[in-house]
């Protein structure tokens, strides 16, 4: 059993390492092959006045004149020593840049994720409970319409209404200048981005829950549970919800990537100082080192979440767990 587990997690680790390596390779090559001038992000407008010699000197200094494969090898070597280079634009260690932004994204995305997680569970279960009733029909229709509205458009409309016309809420940033440590101010700044993230994803997952619950409610075991005198509420809570949990948890683990992507878009629209805006800027201005770190970080989150989904699944559902150990029970039965 122990050896088996070591093997199991060993395999997962190997897959993880290979995935991250491939991701870094692809990002490295694609970013460098894409058109654009990385010198602009470092020197700004001065680049235009540079002579060819100066340019050459600058490229050599930044290590951009070599073949991509050589550059990549050097990047890997340094990365293993914890050195991911400096950001061209911010002129400081990329990890420092990342550190200053990651908190904002974690708070925004994390709260969004939690609201979506519990909100969609709640909506889905309510709809399944009232299947065919007006509550169900209303939520289904409104939910479908809202989740079809594009994120950036919804964000712009909200800014127009609540920031420009009503002037109730700020339109951008994570805090007002000079009020970095004011929690209320941060919350106020988060309302609009959070609204967009949640409304975009809530019903997508809520609808999944609803349908999964309906599948469970129609299962025969519900009939038996009813026949033994169990109340509908208990059956839904202790039988049906339990049975959809593995599927839901794995969907939600995968959804982290989905919601993270949404957060990036929303951050960009609201100029929210997080990883999303950073990713966008670094790709736009060819800030290679920063781009590498941001995409690796995002990639690792996605891979880890997917793996977590799989492990959760196998932990909760006894039928999946059993498939890993040969059918000992059955063997015993025939002894």
């Amino acid at each position: 059993m122990r050896g088996e587990q070591v093997l199991y997690y060993g395999k997962k680790l190997l897959i993880f390492i290979i995935s991250v390596w491939v991701l870094s390779l692809v990002t490295f090559y694609v970013s460098r092959l894409a058109p654009g001038d990385p010198l602009i992000s470092y020197y700004g407008e001065r680049v235009e006045k540079m002579s060819p010699e100066e340019r050459e000197w600058a490229e050599e200094k930044m290590g951009l004149n070599e073949k991509i494969s050589v550059q990549y090898a050097r990047w890997i070597r340094q990365a293993f020593h914890g050195n991911f280079g400096i950001s061209y634009k911010y002129k400081m260690d990329v990890l420092e840049v990342l550190k200053s932004r990651i908190g904002n994204t974690l708070v925004l995305g994390g709260i969004g994720f939690l609201v979506i997680f519990f909100g969609s569970l709640f909506l889905g279960v309510v709809c399944a409970w009232k299947e065919g009733g007006w509550t169900d029909r209303m939520i289904c229709k409104v939910g479908t319409v809202i989740s079809c509205v594009p994120e950036f458009w919804l964000a712009l409309v909200l800014i127009l209404v609540f920031s420009v016309s009503l002037r109730w809420l700020p339109s951008s940033g994570a805090y007002a200048v000079g009020r970095e440590n004011n929690i209320m101010d941060r919350i106020v700044h988060m309302i609009l981005p959070l609204t967009v993230i949640v409304t975009e994803h809530l019903w997508y997952y809520g609808y999944m829950i609803r349908n999964k619950m309906l599948d469970e409610i129609r299962a025969e075991y519900v009939l038996l549970a009813k026949a033994k005198g169990m109340k509908k509420s208990r059956i839904m809570l202790f039988h049906c919800m339990r049975n959809i949990m593995p599927a839901y948890l794995s969907i939600m683990a995968i959804s982290v990537a989905h919601i993270m992507g949404g957060t990036y878009v929303v951050e960009t629209v609201f100029s929210y100082p997080g990883i999303g805006t950073l990713a966008y800027e670094s790709a736009r201005y060819k800030d290679y080192n920063l781009l590498m770190v941001v995409s690796l970080l995002s990639g690792i989150i996605v891979i880890v979440c997917n793996m977590a989904a799989q492990i959760i699944n196998e932990r909760i559902d006894p039928r999946i767990r059993i498939s890993r150990q040969p059918d000992m029970q059955e063997v015993r039965e025939y002894e």
Partner: protein, 338 residues
Amino acid sequence: MNELLKAEHLSVSFFTDAGEVEAVRDVSFTVEKGEVLAIVGESGCGKSALCKSIMKLLPKTAKIKSGKILVNGADITDYTEKNMSRLRGELFSMVFQDPMTSLNPTITVGKQIGEAVRIHNKKMSRGQIRKRVIELMQLVEIDRPEERIRQYPHEFSGGMRQRAVMAIALAGDPKILFADEPTTALDVTIQAQILDVFRRIQKKMEMATVFISHDLGVVAGVADRVAVMYAGKIVEIGTAEEIFYDPRHPYTWGLLQSLPILAGEKEWLPTLPGMPPTLIHPPKGDAFAERNVYAMRIDYEKEPPMFRVTDTHYAATWLLDERAPKVKVPTGGQRDGE
């Protein structure tokens, strides 16, 4: 009064997109204390719908159109879901056809039986519940219950699962047990075992049982009385003796004739030609007329009433009318020494 359950002119319909499906049409029967009433008939004749409608386990599309369900003389026809959930498990309980799907795959068998125990004995402690679960598992003859209590349904074989389902059904000491084809999904040797267990428990607990089956051979071994259903109606009802040795309805004749064990040395196993009618628009007159070689003109025009044969034996066929011609019964009457 020994009448535990009484259905009076019960009609149940499913309202589907294709139209109204009259699954149960004007069915009346009684179940007495401790007896086994078997309901036999082809697939889709309304056997299951009848039992599920009594326990109100049918989906929302099904409605009791008319008739009454009386339990110990009390009318439960209009009971709400809340009231029904109090009756279920204690007054009546049900064993379903497919043990592969009727247990929740993600909860241990012990816990599923325990749930049923707890519903009916809310004050029991964990230890008491466990003890009772093991008792129940012993009652349905699951071996090594202490070990099996922790196992999941997928670790149980089909026969064992059906025993577990029976244990769940028996947890509330029901007065009436509906067994909806409890052996149909099992293979033949397991069928025999389950039937044995079933009979033993039924005798021990003296519980009235409604046993649904399409297999007269199975029914012969368990039933005190038999009701034959066709196209949503009971066409013949009587004691097991009467149905097997003195059947009166041509449909019952057909069913008995097609039993391999009664076909004897014949080269061909007689079959009932044709299919049962759809219940969306049941035919006028006797629904069985089309497949009935003894059909008379009146069979196509008017539904036959229940004719009394004896006090316990009734059949709905115009052949029992005094004006009908006498026909030679092709089966039955094979009582020993006759």
